[in-house]
Symmetry: C2
Subunit: 229 residues, 2 copies
C-alpha cells in the first residue's frame, strides 16, 4: 500500500533533493509550489521540470501575495545583498528573509495534506547553510509539528500523526548535492539564485549562489547551471 | 505609547466583537481579512464597514485560493448543512470545516504582525459555539503561539513575545453579543451566514445562523440583520 506525502517544491537544489528522498522512501508525491511575487520566478519553471522527472501525482502552484505586507528584499525593491563574505552570512538575519514564510508555506501544506489524506510533509530547509532564517531551525520545525497535530480534523479524528520531515536540516550543501546525485537528481533542473537575470541566469554573487557554488566545489562535482559571473 | 495589534477580521459577529475588545485594550488596529473564495463574500463588505467604524489604521484583504485544495462546503459545491439540531452541531466536524484554515489565517497574521511591529494577534474563535472545528480550541491556540515564538525574526531577535489573543474562546454567543453591545458594536455591520442569498440576506438555517439567532434571543436583544426565513 502506498502512502501520500506532500512535498514543498520551490524548484531549488534543496527541494529537488528532498523530493528525491521522499520518492526513495516510497511515498506517492503531491508537490506544492508558491507563486508569491518572488524575483526568482525561474524557480517555478524548474519545479515543473522536476514534477515531470519524478512522476509527481499532483502539483499545486498556489498564488499568494506576500508583497502586500512588504519587508523582504525577495518580494520588494530592496536590494539583494551581493558578495557577502561567509562570516557575515553566518551572523544576523539578512533582508532576503520573508516574514513568516515557512509558517505560511507549511500551513498550506497542512491543508493540502489533509485533503489528499497525507500525514507526511517534506520540506528542504537546512539549518547549517540557512543564511540565518529562524524558520529553518529544528526547534521551529518541532513546534510546527506539535501545532499541526492539534490543528486539523485529520489529526483530531484520525490515528495518524502529522510528521514534518526535513531530511536536509543537518546536512552541508556538499552532502545534499552528493545525496541528490546518488538518487539521480538532475541539478540542471534546479535554480538557487535570489536575483537571476531576466533570462533566468544565476547572478553568482548572492548568498544563495555562493552557498551553491561552494557546495558543488566541496562535493567535487560540476554545477550544470550557468552563472552570469 | 501605543502598541499595534493585528486583528483577524472576517466581518462576522465574533471578529467584530474581537476588534472592539482590542480597541478597548488600547491597541492601534491593523486588520486582516481574506478573500478565499468563500460563498459568503458579503462578509468582506461588512469588514470594510467595521474598519471605518473602528478607526482601523490599515486593512489588508489577502486573496488566497483555498478552492484549489477542495474539501469544504464553504469553498466548493458541497451543500451547506441546514436545519441541524443543536445536538448534532455539538458532535463531529461538519463539511463547512475548511482544512487548516485558522492555521493559514494565523500564519499570514504573523507575517503582517512582524512587518508592522506588532506582538499581539487577536482572533475571534470560540470553543463553545464552535461547531466542532479543531482549530478553535484553546490547546490549538497555545500550540500556535509556542510555534510563533520560534518562527520569526522579530521573536528571535526581539524582546517581545508573540501573544495570540482569543478573548471570546470561552464565552457563549449571548455573552459575546452582550460584550459587543456594551462596547458599541453595531451588529448590523456584521454577517454570520454560511450560505446567504445573492443579495447577502442570511439563510437563517445553517449552523452559524442558528447559533447567532439563539445568541441574540438569549442576550435579550434584537438582531439588526434580516433573515430569509
Amino acid at each position: 500500500m502506498t502512502r501520500n506525502a506532500v512535498v514543498l517544491l520551490s524548484g531549488g537544489l534543496d527541494s529537488a533533493t528532498t523530493l528525491a528522498l521522499a520518492r526513495r522512501d516510497g511515498f506517492d508525491l503531491f508537490a506544492l509550489s508558491f507563486d508569491y511575487g518572488q524575483r526568482h520566478r525561474i524557480e517555478l519553471e524548474c519545479a515543473e521540470q522536476l514534477v515531470v522527472a519524478f512522476g509527481v501525482k499532483r502539483h499545486v502552484v498556489m498564488p499568494i501575495d506576500l508583497r502586500v505586507f512588504g519587508g523582504s528584499s525577495l518580494t520588494s525593491d530592496l536590494p539583494v545583498p551581493k558578495d557577502r563574505p561567509a562570516e557575515s552570512m553566518a551572523h544576523g538575519i539578512p533582508s532576503t528573509y520573508v516574514p513568516a514564510r515557512n509558517t505560511i508555506f507549511l500551513s498550506f501544506a497542512l491543508a493540502y495534506a489533509e485533503v489528499v489524506k497525507a500525514s507526511d510533509i517534506f520540506l528542504g530547509v537546512n539549518a547549517l547553510d540557512y543564511s540565518g532564517y529562524p524558520d529553518c531551525r529544528p526547534e521551529y520545525l518541532e513546534a510546527f509539528e506539535r501545532m499541526a497535530n492539534v490543528a486539523t480534523k485529520a489529526a483530531v479524528e484520525g490515528n495518524e500523526q502529522v510528521r514534518i520531515h526535513a531530511p536536509l536540516v543537518r546536512m552541508t550543501k556538499a552532502e545534499i548535492i552528493r545525496t541528490g546525485l546518488s538518487l539521480g537528481v538532475d541539478y540542471g533542473m534546479t535554480t538557487s539564485c535570489y536575483d537571476p537575470t531576466p533570462a533566468g541566469i544565476a547572478c553568482g554573487r548572492c548568498d544563495s549562489c555562493q552557498l551553491r557554488r561552494k557546495g558543488f566545489a566541496e562535493a567535487g562535482s560540476q554545477d550544470p547551471r550557468p552563472y552570469a559571473v
